[in-house]
């Protein structure tokens, strides 16, 4: 991050940036796809909570000398199961149940980090777990991240039809014998996996941003499911690349404290993208009032337009 001017040319050519781009893209694609379901099922809070809760495992793993990765993944899956167990199903109390698990998990993080700092004197642990950075990756993690990402997508693939039916109509899904509960649990585990691996590599903030931002932008642009998934993954990757580039470029104007954090650049771009889309969609609605049907293809005119 704080490379000085002289070595910047090597910095860009070095594996650091390439590694950041590879991991960023993998994470953006995986969380972008899972994000579509997260936004549709209104589980953004769970997604964010799981990203932060991985830090419990991460900071606990610091203590016992385990690999941070397994701490993150284990804590994420445990937390997902716990949320499910205390009632994430009822929409009414779901946020509260998530909140209680989340709050308690963060208390544990505070405890572990306290021990980390007093025993190991690594006071930056709190900051690194929360903020992370795409530019300080452990290259050995890259294959694991890719494998776990694929596992998350495969898990999602096994239940996505059930999830889709449920998202259309919950009662209908139950009536047709869709195992709604199992589908929910499997989805939550896939979500935990995706979010943990991204919060481990790029920090909890960025992980939530890439989970929710591109997906909710895509869902505004199109209502077609397949297109939304593709768009979400594409937007996520594009934002990640652009953010890395801006953070790198910022070295030339950001002053003596070094580059702008890459997490900030990507998050800010994500938010601007979402806002821009909101405004564009709103403008389109005012220009073309929602009563009129969009210019229908010739064949459909006879069936669609009855009024005028």
């Amino acid at each position: 991050m704080s490379a000085d001017g002289a070595s910047l040319a090597d910095f860009f050519a070095s594996p650091t940036v390439q590694g950041a781009l590879v991991v960023g893209s993998v994470v953006a694609v995986v969380t972008g796809i899972i994000g579509i379901f997260t936004v549709m099922r209104r589980q953004s809070f769970a997604g964010h909570a799981l990203a932060d809760l991985g830090a419990v495992g991460g900071s606990g793993a610091f203590l016992v000398g385990l690999s941070q990765l397994w701490g993150f993944v284990g804590a994420g899956i445990l937390a997902a199961l716990l949320m499910e167990a205390i009632g994430i199903r009822r929409l009414q109390g779901r946020d509260i149940a998530t909140g209680v698990v989340f709050g308690f998990g963060m208390g544990l993080t505070a405890l572990f980090l306290f021990w980390d700092t007093t025993i190991d004197n690594t006071s930056n642990a709190a900051v690194s777990v929360l903020f992370g950075s795409l530019f300080v990756l452990d290259p050995n993690l890259i294959p694991t991240v890719i494998v776990l990402g694929i596992v998350a997508l495969v898990l999602l693939g096994t239940v996505y039809r059930w999830l889709l039916i449920e998202s259309v109509d919950h009662d209908l899904a139950v009536a047709r014998g869709v195992p709604v509960r199992v589908a929910g649990i499997v989805f939550l585990i896939a979500l935990a996996l995706a979010v943990e691996l991204s919060s481990l590599t790029i920090g909890a903030i960025l992980s939530t941003a890439l989970l929710i931002g591109p997906a909710s932008t895509a869902l505004q642009i199109t209502r077609r499911f397949g297109l939304a998934v593709a768009l979400s993954a594409t937007l996520g990757t594009a934002v990640t690349w652009a953010g890395c580039f801006i953070s790198y470029e910022s070295h030339y104007w950001a002053g003596p404290r070094g580059n702008w954090p890459v997490s900030f650049c990507i998050v800010a771009l994500t938010f601007l993208l979402y806002l821009g889309t909101r405004i564009a969609v709103a403008l389109r609605h005012t220009i073309r009032p929602s009563t009129g049907l969009p210019a229908a293809p010739p064949g459909l005119e006879s069936t669609a337009g009855g009024g005028s």
């Binding site: 809070f45 009414q92 209680v100 208390g107 505070a110 306290f114 006071s123 900051v127 998050v267």
Partner: protein
């Protein structure tokens, strides 16, 4: 434990607990734990920014809490509100990352803002906190009835001429004010835990707000006081005790609700499975 240097900690803890108990009740009946998480955590970025500019962190906290609450309640109109909350939260945290990277002394400051430093409260910090806390409770007193109605029965409220959206904005501001009062002293984590756990326990024990609010305040007070005592004697971070005891109250509340349901349905011999 009651030494003079601890007095401020007890006073600060009590103020925070009362505010959190009252506001937390509304957080729970509105089912909006995410907002209660997002506003304090996002606001910490404001404090980081104010420290960077050499201003009083309270100003930055207040500005960011208000801005965050306003952004969320305005943008959530036509969209899925949890996605908006998540986006606003990460944007504020992203700004926090930027501010932290610009400043020289970061780790300890951040740690305090996130996890609290209740044992180091000065009188100069107590005064603005007490004033803001009073204003907060007064404001709740003024909007109590419309807010309650809009939170529980939005349609009835709308029929009676209360705009639920206005109440959402009002509630956002209340939460922002409570955040500004509490975060510099107890930290974002603690504030969130107090806003959710004990009030959720209280409101699953009774459905009547006139009992649930005092009960919620009582629970937060017990949580806070026993956490200060435990943190003092055992010398572990206070955040851990508050979150653990808060979660404990939630479990007790759920257990009580379950037992009551069972007792009610037992004579007929039908156990409710919902």
């Amino acid at each position: 434990m009651f030494a003079p240097f601890m007095t401020n900690a007890w006073i600060a803890g009590t103020i925070v607990a009362v505010i959190a108990g009252v506001i937390g009740f509304f957080v729970v009946i509105r089912g909006n734990a995410f907002l209660a998480h997002a506003v304090p955590h996002g606001a910490f970025a404001g404090a980081a920014g104010a420290t960077l500019l050499g201003l009083n962190p309270l100003i930055g906290l207040g500005l960011f809490a208000m801005a965050g609450a306003l952004t969320i309640s305005v943008l959530e109109r036509h969209a899925r509100n949890d996605a908006i909350t998540a986006l606003a939260l990460v944007t504020m945290l992203g700004l926090g990352a930027l501010f932290v990277s610009r400043s020289t002394q970061y780790s300890a400051e951040i740690f305090a803002l996130l996890f609290g430093q209740i044992l180091g409260v000065s009188v100069a910090e107590l005064v603005p906190m007490a004033i803001l806390g009073w204003l907060c409770l007064l404001a709740i007193g003024v909007v109590y009835r419309p807010l309650l109605l809009a939170s529980t029965l939005p349609d009835t409220a709308a029929a009676r001429g209360i705009n639920p959206r206005t109440m959402t904005v009002v509630f956002g501001f209340l939460l922002a004010a409570a955040t500004t009062t509490s975060v510099p002293i107890v930290g974002a984590l603690l504030m969130f835990a107090l806003l959710v756990g004990p009030p959720a326990g209280a409101s699953s024990m009774t459905r009547r707000p006139i009992i649930a609010i005092p009960l919620s305040v009582l629970f937060t007070l017990i949580t806070m006081w026993s956490s200060i005592a435990l943190a003092y004697t055992i010398n572990l971070p206070i955040g851990f005790f508050v979150t653990a005891i808060g979660a404990g109250f939630y479990l007790i509340g759920r257990l009580a609700a379950w037992l009551r349901r069972r007792a009610r349905s037992a004579p007929i011999g039908v156990r409710s499975s919902a």
